[in-house]
Every structure is written in structure tokens, then in C-alpha cells.
């Protein structure tokens, strides 16, 4: 059976994706899996959030996940990508997001985790990824998102953080990783998300950026991350959530994008790939489903474009003490 049989085109094969994610967890010793060992925390976040969006979070053992997750916490308070690895802000956010999915943030020593993140802020307002000092606006987003979920935003200098992000704004209205770096949809998501969470979206030229973003849509309906590049399902998230946050999503053709994402599914084995007929992976499966959520595809829970978590999870956090 070909993966593009016409009777199944135009449908989200949700059950197959659920099975793909659960099976991937079991294939820990494949080469692909071993090579990604160090970012298992991210992989867990992508897989589990996808399951929750498809309302199947109950298929995993919460206790198993949480107890493994806690073995990744370092004495500094930060989380590593997997047991034994060094802590990093990337995996700290994923860990907090996973606990949020399970409504288990209360098991954390919030003071410890938030201090780890807050200490990574530099004098100019930027954030380093870890003690080794790499600076990137991805880390600004991560810090702001993480501390917002933990309700500790006051532990950092938000004004300076915003000022640094704004200094990374380019002449095309987009944002790069550091001042002077080229606009890229991933970085744009991070900067716009951080500005959204801190109530600073007035710094964004919405029409200028909205135009740059909507120009990412190519003839086939898919989105690329920068001019002249190929379309990729993960940009259904980075570009789309940015457009939603700046209220310009009506500038792209939603139906065509839905079709592109659905065409990237492996209809036999489940999972979603970067573009049609490529190899699938958890990363693109998550971004494909999250993209469909933003496009209001039926059967997928609503996701928050800034926090990248289901809206009911975000509400639960924000509306309880």
C-alpha cells in the first residue's frame, strides 16, 4: 500500500502517530536513538506533548517518566538531556514542561530550579545556555517561558532581557540569535514568544514581520524558515505560532498548509517527516501535530502558541496559586 493512497489522503492518522511515539520509546538501542541520547529530555517533551494534544497522555506511565526525569536533575538545579549528562537551560525547560503536562510541577524545588535559570542571565540582559557562556535568544525565550511557568519571572531583570531581545531585531523585522545575526523563523518564534510572555509585543513591527513570515509559504503550501530554502514541517510551528502571536495568521493559506502537513505523514507506520516521503522522527511528528492544532484541525487539542503547551495545561498553571 503506497503511503499516498487516495482514500487516506487528507486525514490525520492519529492512532498511528500515537503508536509510533510509544514504539520509539521502546527502541532505545537503535543507532538513531543512541545518537540522540543526550537530548532525550527534548524528545520526551516532543513525544508527550504530541500524545497530550491527541488526548492520549494516559498511554504512558507517568511514574516511570517522572522518576527518570528527576534523575536528570543536577545539584545546581538545572536538568540534563539525559541521566549523567551536564545541565543546560534547553533541557531544564523541557523538564518543567513535561512536569506541567502531568500537573506535577509541585514535586520540584522551585526555588532551586528558578535560581539555576536566573543565574544564567548576563549583564546585558542576554541568557547563556549553561556555565560555558553560549549566548542565544533561544535561551532568552527558554528562561522567560520556564520562569513564567514556575511563576518566578521576578527573579530576572525582565527589562534588560527584553532590551537584549529587541537588540537582535533585524532590518527585515525578524530576529536572529545574537545582535547582527540573520533572521530565522526559529529565532523569531523564540523572540516573539518571549516578548509575548513579558507583554512587550509593541516592540515588534507586526506588518513588516508578518510579511516576512507569510512569504515563507511556498507553492506546495509548506513553509520554509528563511528565503530561498526548502519547506519543512517544523516551520509549521515556528512560523505559524509567530504569525498567531502577532495577529497576522490570516496572511497565509491555511488549507494548503494543512494539506502539506498531512502529506508528510507516514500513513503506514505513523510519524511525520520534514517533507513528504522523507524519514519520520519524533521532532517533526510533534511540530506537525502542533501545527495542525494551531490550524484548528479537528481532533487535536488547542495549543498555546507562546508556551508550546496545550492551553488547558497553561490555564491550569496560570489560574492556580
Amino acid at each position: 500500500m503506497s503511503s499516498t493512497s487516495s482514500s487516506q489522503m487528507g486525514q490525520l492518522v492519529a492512532d498511528k502517530h500515537v503508536r509510533y511515539i510509544l514504539m520509539a520509546e521502546k527502541k532505545k538501542e537503535s543507532f538513531e536513538s543512541v545518537v540522540m541520547d543526550h537530548l532525550r529530555m527534548n524528545g520526551a517533551y516532543w513525544g508527550l506533548t504530541t500524545l497530550d494534544l491527541l488526548d492520549k497522555l494516559g498511554c504512558v506511565s507517568e511514574d516511570e517518566v517522572v522518576s527518570w526525569l528527576m534523575t536528570c536533575q543536577h545539584e545546581s538545579g538545572g536538568f540534563a538531556g539525559n541521566t549523567g549528562h551536564d545541565p543546560h537551560i534547553l533541557y531544564t525547560l523541557s523538564a518543567v514542561q513535561i512536569l506541567a503536562l502531568f500537573d506535577k510541577i509541585n514535586i520540584l524545588d522551585i526555588g532551586k530550579v528558578s535560581s539555576y535559570v536566573a543565574k544564567l542571565q548576563n549583564e546585558d540582559g542576554s541568557f547563556s545556555g549553561d556555565m560555558w557562556g553560549e549566548i542565544d535568544t533561544r535561551f532568552s525565550y527558554i528562561a522567560i517561558c520556564c520562569l513564567s511557568i514556575l511563576k518566578c519571572l521576578d527573579k530576572i531583570n525582565v527589562k534588560k532581557a527584553v532590551r537584549y531581545i529587541v537588540s537582535c531585531k533585524n532590518l527585515d523585522g525578524g530576529f536572529g540569535c545574537t545582535p547582527g545575526a540573520e533572521s530565522h523563523a526559529g529565532q523569531i518564534f523564540c523572540c516573539v514568544g518571549a516578548l509575548a510572555i513579558t507583554g512587550s509585543l509593541h516592540h515588534v513591527d507586526k506588518d513588516l514581520l508578518g510579511w516576512w513570515l507569510c512569504e515563507r509559504q511556498l507553492k506546495g503550501g509548506g513553509l520554509n524558515g528563511r528565503p530561498e530554502k526548502l519547506p519543512d514541517v517544523c516551520y509549521s510551528w515556528w512560523v505559524l505560532s509567530s504569525l498567531i502571536m502577532i495577529d497576522r495568521v490570516h496572511w497565509i493559506d491555511k488549507a494548503k498548509l494543512v494539506k502539506f502537513i498531512l502529506d508528510c505523514q507516514d500513513l503506514e507506520n505513523g510519524g511525520i517527516s520534514d517533507r513528504p516521503d522523507d524519514a519520520v522522527d519524533i521532532f517533526h511528528t510533534y511540530f506537525g501535530v502542533a501545527g495542525l492544532s494551531l490550524l484548528e484541525y479537528p481532533g487535536v487539542k488547542v495549543i498555546d502558541p507562546a508556551y508550546a503547551l496545550p492551553v488547558d495545561v497553561v490555564n491550569r498553571i496560570m489560574f492556580t496559586k
Binding site: 551536564d86 507516514d266 520534514d274
Partner: protein, 413 residues
């Protein structure tokens, strides 16, 4: 994760063997890392691991720790050089494997920023980058593969380039020539146009020779017309064009300002008092050159004394551009007075420019009144100026600056 065919399955036995080898390497490495073992053998093992898995970030951290354990500020320069060579070699192998590895690029950056001044081959870095970026440089039409100009589109390489340019103090003019060279062959690489926009902006802001705003915009417009004419389908030139046009719109916009005291207002001072009050000029763009030669005061109040204008900014240097400028206007009412006396103060501005080349449609003036009256400032509802605002301290300056930064982005209202 990207660009692999769905049915490109490798032989199961091969992948199982590779997986086992990697597992074993990883667990040996972890043991060395946790026990802080930095022997030659252990360090080489980490290099082997990174050659297979360039994104294994903990191994890069380990190598940084190993470097720090082997060299310090007093180390023999030849030892330092050989260790740097070793690190850069490991990074190169990792980048051959994955040219988009954040961790590998950062390790190179970290090694050179820690020890770069000792490194005798620093000039090579720019050459290496040039070679890397130009490797695939052919006209778009000649390239069949859909991964056209991947090296030139590799943003990690461009970020690293900016780091090396700063470290080697290469000039922006030279870098602009570099972008010319690439554009001469292929006009459709967005990264190049972006870099050009950054270089041109910085040269204009620095008022470099040959880079006054109007002439630069005209020259760049001609330049980008070429690109668009050559290949109107490609987006990159069009985005640059839009930005240039936007600069011309801003340039024709007149510089606007407001003041305190504002035109037509009245400031009250009291008999038997002396002090000063601030005269504040607020512009909608950062300007320089506000001084007693560009701002003249015509009033009996201050006599012949020239006012000293200061920018409200963290930097008190009068060459700094600032949106807000302050001077202190002194008054002295200690001479006996028995009735109200009014002093008109006329402030005239001219010849003030913003960094974008906008200027006041000069001359511009405003007039306010200082009313000297009988009575005391302790009367309710009257603000006293006797303090003279001498305690315009850093906190207030920073606060005002942050307000300015906010307004500068949202547009003057």
C-alpha cells in the same frame, strides 16, 4: 533528522554494530567525565566520540574542562598553540560530520575567545571561513542539487564570521567588499544581503568616509536594482530593496521635538530665591550637536552666560547621540522686588541633525515666561525650583533613557 529518505534503510547488522560501538564510547566517556580524568587517552576518546556524534554537548564541556586543566595564563605559548590546534582540529572533524552543530561552532568560538590572543594562526581563521563559504559558490543556474549554496546559507558560519571579524579587527569596508564578491556571482543568498544591511547601517552610523546617509542609499539602490533586474524571482534582493526604500521614507520625515518648559508656558519663581531649573529638549530621533552654538537663548534672565547642554544618557560625552538634552537655566531673584516681574525666554534651535541625516527645518523657536513674584514657594500647590535639579542622578537618567528607548521603537506620538 532532516532530508533523509523514508526508505533509506541501512542493513540492520550494520546499525546494530554502530549503535553498540557508540554506546560503549559514551559510557567510557561518561566515566572519564565524572571522575575528571584528563589523560591523553581520555581526551582522545572524547574526540572519537565527537567525530561520530558532534552534538554530544557534554563531551564538548568535558574538552573545555580538559583544556582549562592543561593550560593557564602562564603556560608556554607553544603548548597553548598546540592545544588550540588540537581543539580546532576536533571541531573541524565534527563540522565535517554536521556543519550545523551549535555545540561545535561554539566550542571553536570559546577556544579562541579564551586563548585567541596567544594563537599565532588567528589570521587563518578568516581565510578558512572564506574557503568554506566559497566552496560551493557558483551561479544558481549552474547548480543542479537542491542544496544550493548550503555553506553560504549556513548561519552558524556567518555568526562565527562576525566573531572572527571582531577578533581580528577586520574593517566593515573590507567585509562589504566580500559581500560584493559573492553577489557578483550569485545574487540570491539572503545571508549575504542581511550581512550587507548590517555593514551598511554600521558604516552610516559611524559616519565613515563615503557613507553619508543620502549618498549611501542612492548607491545601494543602484546596486540592488542590478540584483532584481538579474533575477526578479529570487526574494533576497527584494527584501533589501524594501529596507532601502524604508530608509528614504524616514529620511524625508522632518525631525520633531518638544520641550520643557513648552511654548507659551509660565514658570513661577519667588522673590529672594535663586537656583536653576532644567531646560529639556526631547527629539523623536537621537541627535548630536546640541550646544550653545546650535541652541540660543534670548532673555534677560541668564544674561551672557552660555548654557551647557548634556545628553541624557549613560555616556556623558557630548558627542553621543541622544533623544533628550538638558541644560540648566539659572535664575537669581534675591534683589529686592516688590511686585511681579516677567521675563520672556526665547529659545532658538538650528543646525541639529539626527544620525539618519534628518534635521530641523531650521530655525525653530519657542518662548516661555518666567514669572518672578512676591510670596514664598512653600505656598500650597506650587512646585519649588530652588533645588536646581542638581541631583539629576544616574537612576533618573537611566529611567528616562529606558522610556526613550521604548518610544523610539513605537514611534513618536
Amino acid at each position: 533528522m532532516h532530508g533523509r529518505g523514508r526508505n533509506e534503510a541501512s542493513k540492520p547488522e550494520e546499525t546494530a554494530a554502530k549503535a553498540l560501538e557508540l554506546r560503549s564510547l559514551q559510557s567510557q566517556f561518561m566515566s572519564n567525565h565524572h571522575q575528571k580524568i584528563y589523560t591523553q587517552e581520555a581526551i582522545q576518546l572524547s574526540a572519537k566520540l565527537l567525530g561520530i556524534n558532534p552534538d554530544a554537548y557534554t563531551a564538548w564541556n568535558y574538552r573545555k574542562l580538559a583544556l582549562v586543566s592543561r593550560i593557564n595564563d602562564d603556560s608556554d605559548p607553544s603548548l597553548v598553540n598546540s592545544i588550540i590546534d588540537e581543539e580546532l582540529g576536533v571541531v573541524k572533524k565534527a563540522l565535517d560530520r554536521n556543519p550545523k552543530s551549535y555545540e561545535a561552532w561554539y566550542h571553536r568560538n570559546w577556544v579562541l575567545s579564551k586563548k585567541g590572543r596567544y594563537y599565532t594562526s588567528l589570521e587563518n581563521e578568516l581565510q578558512l571561513l572564506n574557503d568554506y563559504q566559497k566552496q560551493q559558490l557558483v551561479n544558481d543556474y549552474q547548480k543542479q542539487d537542491d542544496r544550493k549554496h548550503d555553506n553560504l546559507r549556513n548561519f552558524h558560519a556567518w555568526n562565527y564570521r562576525r566573531f572572527v571579524v571582531e577578533l581580528t579587527e577586520t574593517s566593515a569596508e573590507d567585509e562589504l567588499q566580500y559581500t560584493n564578491m559573492i553577489n557578483d556571482i550569485c545574487f540570491s543568498i539572503y545571508s549575504v544581503w542581511h550581512y550587507r544591511s548590517v555593514l551598511v547601517s554600521s558604516l552610516v552610523a559611524k559616519k565613515a568616509d563615503g557613507f553619508m546617509p543620502k549618498e549611501t542609499i542612492r548607491r545601494e539602490l543602484d546596486y540592488v536594482h542590478n540584483a532584481i533586474f538579474t533575477d526578479e524571482v529570487k526574494q533576497s534582493g527584494w527584501f533589501y530593496y524594501l529596507w532601502l526604500l524604508d530608509q528614504t521614507v524616514k529620511m524625508e520625515t522632518p525631525l520633531r521635538f518638544s520641550s520643557w518648559p513648552s511654548d507659551g508656558s509660565i514658570i513661577t519663581t519667588f522673590c529672594s530665591e535663586f537656583g536653576s531649573f532644567p531646560l529639556i529638549l526631547y527629539f523623536d530621533q537621537a541627535v548630536s550637536g546640541v550646544s550653545s552654538s546650535t541652541v540660543t537663548i534670548d532673555s534677560e534672565l541668564n544674561g551672557k552666560e552660555d548654557l551647557v547642554w548634556e545628553p541624557v544618557s549613560d555616556n556623558k560625552n557630548s558627542q553621543v547621540d541622544s533623544c533628550v538634552w538638558v541644560a540648566r537655566l539659572k535664575f537669581d531673584s534675591r534683589e529686592p522686588c516688590f511686585s511681579r516681574k516677567e521675563y520672556k525666554v526665547k529659545v532658538s534651535l538650528g543646525g541639529i541633525f539626527s544620525s539618519r541625516g534628518c534635521n530641523l527645518t531650521a530655525p525653530y523657536e519657542f518662548v516661555f515666561t518666567v514669572l518672578n513674584t512676591v510670596g514664598e514657594s512653600s505656598q500650597q500647590g506650587i512646585v519649588s525650583w530652588t533645588d536646581g535639579f542638581d541631583n539629576w542622578d544616574d537612576a533618573q537618567s537611566k529611567y528616562l533613557n529606558s522610556l526613550i528607548a521604548l518610544n523610539a521603537d513605537t514611534g513618536f506620538e
